[in-house]
Symmetry: C2
C-alpha cells in the first residue's frame, strides 16, 4: 500500500500545475445560486471537465438549478462486480459581496504566497478539482479506475439544497453505490485532519404577524390598536424559555441522544471553548456550561430554536412614534436524530394555535433531516487510516457537527457510509471575502482522496 | 360683541391676500429641525416678521435650535394692568421626504383649487400666520392691542421639544401670562371644531442587548452562544402581558384616572371607531373593547407601552442562518396624569435588573409629562363660545388626547389655561407629502383666534 501511496504522491506532484490551472478555470466561471448568476454556464463547464477526464456527464433537471451527474466505469473485479464510489459536490458558490473587501477579483484565481484566493476556491470548486485530481492520479498509477465512480454535483447547496432530497429519492437506482465522499473536509486550527460523521438537520421558518394595513401613530393607537410587534414578541416568547428549553409540545419526542460511542468521540475532541469565547466576545455559554464534554454535547446533540432576525416598525436613528402594522421573525431550528423539519413545522403551527396565536403566519423557508454515519463503519476506518498516512496524525472525529447539509438522503435513502476529506482550514474565509486555500492543504486533500479511492477499491 | 366680530371678519377678509402672501413667504423658507436645514434662516425670518408687525423679537438660545421670543404691549386697562396672552408656536417642520410623492415643490406654497400645499402650511407655519393675521385684524378694529401678547416660537417641536421644559422653567418671569393659545387646532371629519384640553406625556426609550462582538453561524452557536434577539424578546415580554397590563412594578402608582367631568366630556365625543377600524384594517380593538365611552376612555386615559420597532439579525428575503450579536427595540410609553418620564425610566431599569436583564441597556431618547387644563376654566369657555360663533356649532371637547406635546410646562409651571384654535382638518397630510390646508379653515382659524383675543381682553 505504501508503495502505491508513494506513486500516487509522485503523480499528484507531477500533475499539480495542471490541476491548479483547472482550478483557475472553474473558479473563473461565476455561479452564484442565490443570484442565478452563471449557473447554466458553470453546469456546462463542469460537465465538460468531467468529459475531458473520460467520464460521461449529463445535466439533469432538479426542479431548480440543474444537477451535473457523471459516471466512470471501473476495473471489473475477479467476481465480475466493481464497487461504486459516489462523490457529492456542488458547483454553486456564495455571492462575492461585499466586493470592496476583496484584495483580488473574486472570480479570478489569484496566488499570493502559498495561498490561492477566489470565491469558491474552497467551497466547493476546490473540492471538485480535488476529486478529479485524485482520480487522475489513481488512474495513472493503476492503469485504470479500480472502482466505478459517480458524481452528483449540484447547483443549490448554498441555498439549502431544496431539491436534493427529492432528486436522490427519484434517482435511487442511478445513484446506487457502496460509499460516498462528501463535498468538504478540512484540518482544524491545530493542523489535525477532521472527520465529520453527521450533520444536524434544519427547519427554517418565518413568523409573520399583520395587525393592520398601515402603521398608526403611537399616540392614536397605542392603547387601543393591536400591535404586530407585541403579538410577535408574545408568540416568540412561548417558543423557548430562558433556560433554552423549547416549549413546543412534542418537540423533543423524536430526539435520540448520543450513543456511548458518540460520547466517547466527543470526549476526545479538542476543547476550543476559550478560543471561541474570545473570538466572539462571549461573557459565557448558555446554561452556564463552561467547556469539556458538557459543552461539546450541548453544541451538537441538542436541537435549537434560534431567532436569526426580527424586523418591525421604525429602525432608524432616534425616535419615531409609530405603532407597527407588521412584524416578522426568521427562526432556525437545528434538528438532531431523529427529528424532521416536517414534524417541527406541524408542531409549531399546532402550538401557536393552542397558545392563541392563530394570527401568526408560519412560512417554511426550507429544511432537511439530521443524519449521521456509524463511526465504526469500515469505510470510516479507511478514511481515518488514510488520514493518518497523509497528515501523520490521528483525525479528530466528530460524530455530528452543528451545521446542516443534505447528507440525510445519501446516508438513509441510498444507505451509504459518507466521509469527508478535503482542503479546508479555519482561515479559509468560506462565505466571506478573500475565500482561500493553502497549497499544502490542496495537495493533502488530493492525496487523502486518492488514498481513500485506492484503499476502497482494494478493501 | 357681534358688532366687533363682524368688523373683525371684514378686516380679515380685506387683508386675506396679504396674509396668504406672508404664508407663502414663511413656507418658502425650509426649516427641517431633524436635518438642521434652514433653522437659523427661518428663526431670523420669523423674528423679522414679528418686527414688521410691530412686536419686539429676540432670538434666544435654548440649548438646541433657538427660540424666537416676541412681545407686544397692549392697551392699559382702567386699573393700569394689561392682561397677557401667550402664543406657543413652532417654526420647524418635518422633513419633506419622500420628495417624489409631492405634487408641487414642498417649500413653495402652491394653490390648487381652495387648498394650499407646502411643508409646514398647517404644522405649524400656517398657525404662526394665523396668530399674526388675527392680531392684525384685532388691532385694525380696536385701534391697538387690547392685551399684552407674548410669542414663544420654538424650533424643535418636530424632534420632541427636548429643551422647551427647561426653557420655560428658566424664563418663568419673562413668560408670565394669563392664558395661552396652543400651536394647533382643527375641525374634525364632520366639520366640527375641536378643543383638546390636554395631552398625554411620553417616555421614549431604546432597549439594546449585545451578547457578542460578531454574529455567529447558527449551526455553530445555536446551542451554546447567548442570542441577543432572544434576550431582547424575553426582556420585552416581561414589560406587558397579552391583556395590555404593563408589568413594571409601580408603573401605575401615579396614575390619576379621569374625573366625572372628564368622563362626561368623553361620553359626548363622536364615535369614530368603525371608521378607524376600516381605515387601519383592524380586526378589532385590544381588550375586546368595541367603541363608545369604554374605547374613548381607554384610548386616552390609559398609559401605554408600545413597541415602535425592533431590529436584529438578518432581515432580507429568504433565509440566512445567523445568530445575532446585537438586538434593539424602540419603546414608547404614553403617560397619563400624574406620571413622569423620569420615574418610568427609573422603574423600567429597576424592573429589568430585578428580572435578570441587567444586560439590557436602556437609552432614554426623550419625553415629557402629561398635562391637562380644567374644562371649566373661564378661558376654555371663551374658546368654546367663540368657536360656536365662528363654526355655528358646539365644539367637540377632548379632555385629553392620545398624542403628546410640551404643554406641561405651560400649564403647570406657568400656570396657564391653554386652548387650541386653528386651521387643521383630517385631510391635511400633516407630516406626510402634500401637506395642505383649506382656504375656509384658514379663514376660520384666523377668525376664531381673533374672536378669542377680543373676548379675552374684554373678559
Amino acid at each position: 500500500m505504501n508503495d502505491i501511496n508513494q506513486k500516487l504522491d509522485q503523480q499528484i506532484n507531477e500533475r499539480l500545475d495542471y490541476w491548479i490551472g483547472q482550478l483557475g478555470r472553474l473558479c473563473g466561471q461565476p455561479s452564484v445560486s442565490t443570484q442565478n448568476w452563471g449557473i447554466t454556464e458553470c453546469a456546462d463547464l463542469v460537465a465538460t471537465m468531467l468529459e475531458e477526464q473520460g467520464y460521461t456527464a449529463v445535466i439533469m433537471p432538479s426542479g431548480g438549478h440543474p444537477v451535473v451527474y457523471g459516471e466512470g466505469d471501473g476495473r471489473t473485479t475477479a467476481d465480475g462486480e466493481a464497487k461504486t464510489l459516489l462523490f457529492y459536490l456542488h458547483y454553486d458558490v456564495q455571492p462575492p459581496e461585499p466586493l470592496d473587501l476583496w484584495e483580488s477579483p473574486p472570480f479570478e484565481l489569484t496566488r499570493r504566497g502559498d495561498k490561492f484566493f477566489a470565491r469558491g476556491v474552497s467551497d466547493d470548486k476546490g473540492h471538485v478539482i480535488t476529486r478529479l485530481a485524485a482520480l487522475d492520479a489513481v488512474r495513472r498509477v493503476l492503469g485504470d479506475l479500480p472502482c466505478r465512480v459517480k458524481f452528483v454535483i449540484e447547483g443549490e447547496e448554498e441555498i439549502g439544497s431544496p431539491h436534493m432530497p427529492a432528486f436522490v429519492v427519484d434517482h435511487q437506482e442511478q445513484l446506487a453505490a457502496d460509499a460516498c465522499i462528501w463535498e468538504f473536509g478540512s484540518v482544524d486550527a491545530g493542523g489535525a485532519p477532521t472527520q465529520a460523521l453527521g450533520m444536524r438537520g434544519i427547519c427554517y421558518v418565518e413568523l409573520t404577524v399583520e395587525t393592520a394595513v398601515i402603521d398608526a401613530h403611537s399616540g392614536l393607537g397605542g392603547s387601543i390598536f393591536p400591535n404586530a410587534a407585541w403579538r410577535l414578541v408574545w408568540a416568540l416568547n412561548t417558543l423557548k424559555d430562558q433556560n433554552e428549553r423549547i416549549l413546543i409540545p412534542g418537540f423533543y419526542d423524536n430526539v435520540v441522544g448520543p450513543s456511548a460511542r458518540d460520547l466517547e468521540l466527543l470526549d476526545k475532541l479538542p476543547d476550543h471553548s476559550a478560543k471561541m469565547q474570545e473570538m466572539y466576545g462571549l461573557s459565557g455559554f448558555v446554561r452556564g456550561v463552561t467547556g469539556g464534554l458538557a459543552l461539546q454535547r450541548q453544541a451538537v446533540f441538542e436541537p435549537t430554536c434560534t431567532i436569526c432576525g426580527i424586523t418591525t416598525g421604525y429602525q432608524g436613528p432616534g425616535l419615531k412614534t409609530v405603532l407597527p402594522a407588521k412584524a416578522s421573525a426568521k427562526v432556525d431550528f437545528r434538528l438532531v436524530p431523529d427529528q424532521s423539519p416536517e414534524e417541527i413545522v406541524s408542531k409549531l403551527r399546532a402550538h401557536l394555535d393552542a397558545q392563541g396565536f392563530s394570527d401568526v403566519q408560519v412560512t417554511y423557508h426550507g429544511g432537511g433531516r439530521p443524519a449521521k454515519v456509524d463511526p465504526d463503519d469500515p469505510f470510516v476506518q479507511i478514511a481515518n487510516e488514510t488520514a493518518v498516512q497523509v497528515y501523520g496524525r490521528e483525525p479528530v472525529i466528530e460524530p455530528i457537527i452543528g451545521g446542516s447539509g443534505p447528507n440525510y438522503p445519501f446516508i438513509h435513502v441510498l444507505g451509504l457510509p459518507v466521509v469527508s476529506a478535503g482542503i479546508g482550514y479555519p482561515g479559509g474565509q468560506v462565505h466571506a471575502p478573500n475565500e482561500n486555500i493553502r497549497l499544502e492543504d490542496f495537495i493533502n486533500g488530493i492525496r487523502h482522496t486518492a488514498y481513500i479511492i485506492a484503499r476502497f477499491a482494494d478493501g
